[in-house]
Assembly symmetry: C2
Homo-oligomer: 243 residues x 2
Amino acid sequence: MKSGKVIKRDGAREKSQETRPEKRLDKRWYDDACGTAHALELLGERWSLLIVRELMFGPLRFSQLRAGLPGLSANVLTQRLEGLEAAGILIRRMLPPPASVQVYELTPWGYECEPAIQALGRWAARSPSHDPSLPLSAASLMLSFRTMVDRRRAGERPMTVGFLLEPDVFVARVDGDGVEVRREMPENTDFTLRGGPRGIAAVVYGGMPLAEAEAAGLVSVSGDQTAAERFVTLFPLPPKVGS
Amino acid sequence: MKSGKVIKRDGAREKSQETRPEKRLDKRWYDDACGTAHALELLGERWSLLIVRELMFGPLRFSQLRAGLPGLSANVLTQRLEGLEAAGILIRRMLPPPASVQVYELTPWGYECEPAIQALGRWAARSPSHDPSLPLSAASLMLSFRTMVDRRRAGERPMTVGFLLEPDVFVARVDGDGVEVRREMPENTDFTLRGGPRGIAAVVYGGMPLAEAEAAGLVSVSGDQTAAERFVTLFPLPPKVGS
DNA sequence: CTGTATCCGTGTTGATACTG
DNA sequence: CAGTATCAACACGGATACAG
C-alpha cells in the first residue's frame, strides 16, 4: 500500500485542552459504509448497549443506571453517556422544579434500537456458555419478557401484570401483540409479582415451580394465582445449540 | 468445543502471571444474565461482528477476510478468529485435497445471528452520522440487500441477479420471501451487475441513475436492462432521524 | 446525594516487522 | 499465504478527590 492509508481523524488528542474540552467525538471508526459497522461505532463500546437497555423503559438518573449495571464505574458511565448523547441516542434532561434532578432519556431513535437488542439477546440465549443464573437487572428482566413472549399463547388469555422489583416497579400488559411495559405502580392488575429479578427469572426461565419459589421467599404473588401460574409459562427459551 | 473452560465471574481478578500466558479465554464479562449482555461477551469485541458479517455467505480464507476488512490487522484477526471459534460461532476447516487450504466457516448457530446483524444495520442506517459513501465490502453490500429489500414489491416481479464484484461473485434470488444470496458464478440470471460495491451502492442507495453509473464506468449491466432498472429501486433506505 | 475529574495499574488494541 | 512477535498507545476500572 502506498498512500492508501486510512485517514485518521485523531488530530488534536493531546491533554484535556484548556478549559473547554468540547465534545470529543473521537471514537474509533471502521471506515465502512455498512450499517452494522456504523451501529458498532455508535454503541459498540463496552457497556454502551447495556446502558441503552437500562433506559429502554424510560428516563433514569445516574445512580439508577449504576444500580442496574454493577461493575460499570462512574467515570466510564460518564464517558458513555457523553458519547451516547453526542451520537443522538439519548439526551440529558432536567426534571421540572419539584424534582429538579437530571435524568437520561433515550431519544425516539434511541428507543428504536430495541429490535436490535432483542435480536442479539435471542441469539445469545442459545449460546452454550450463556448462564441465566447470573444477576439480572429489573430492566433486562422486563425486556426479556418482551423478547421471549409466545404471542400466540399470550393472545389466548391477555393479562395485566404488576412487578415490584425492589426500587423498580412496572406494569406489563401481555396479549397477542406482545408485552407492553410501563414504569408505574401496579394497580388493578390481574396479579402482582414481588421479588428480585433473579427469583422471578428462576421461575420463568429456570423452570422452578412458582409455589416452590414462593415457599423459598424468592417471590410472592398477590392476586390471581392461576393467572400467575399461566404467566410464567409464556416465555419459552430457545433450545441451546447442542440440542 | 474442546477446552470448555469458561472461567467466569467471581469478584477477584487474579493476576494471570504465575503460569505461562496460556490460551487466555479470560475475556471481559459483564456478570449479567441478560442475553444481550452475553451477546456482547460473544461478539462485542471490536471487529468480531464484522468478521461474522463477512462470513455470512460462506467460508472464507484468512486473506479474504482481511480483504473485506481493511483496517483490521493480522494479529487482531487471529485473536478474533480464536475467540469466535472458542465461542462456537465459527470453525476452521481444511478444504479437501486439491485445495487443501484452511477456511473459516460459521457454525449453524453462527449463521443464525444474521437477524441481529440486520437489526443493528437497519437501525444505524438512520443515524445522522451514517455515511453511506464510505468503502463497502462485497459481503456487506449483499447483506444490505437482504436487510433492506421491499419484499412486497420484490414479490410482484421476482428475479435472479448476478453480481461480479471483483474477486467476489454472487447470485441473488429476489422474490416475495426476500433475497437469497449464494456465492456462485452468475449463470442464467435475468441480468448481471458488474462493478465495485461502492458503485452499485451509489445506484441502489445513493440515488444515482443506473444509466449515469454505467456511463461513468462504475457499473455495467448485462442482460435484462429493464429488470435491472427495477432492481435498483427495491431497496428503500429508512428516513434519517431528523426528517 | 449526584455527578464529574483526576491519577494509576493493568489489559487490550493495532501498526510494523518478521517467520514458516 | 497465514499467521507470530514486538512494542506503543490507549481503554478499562478502581480509587480517590472534587463540585453543586
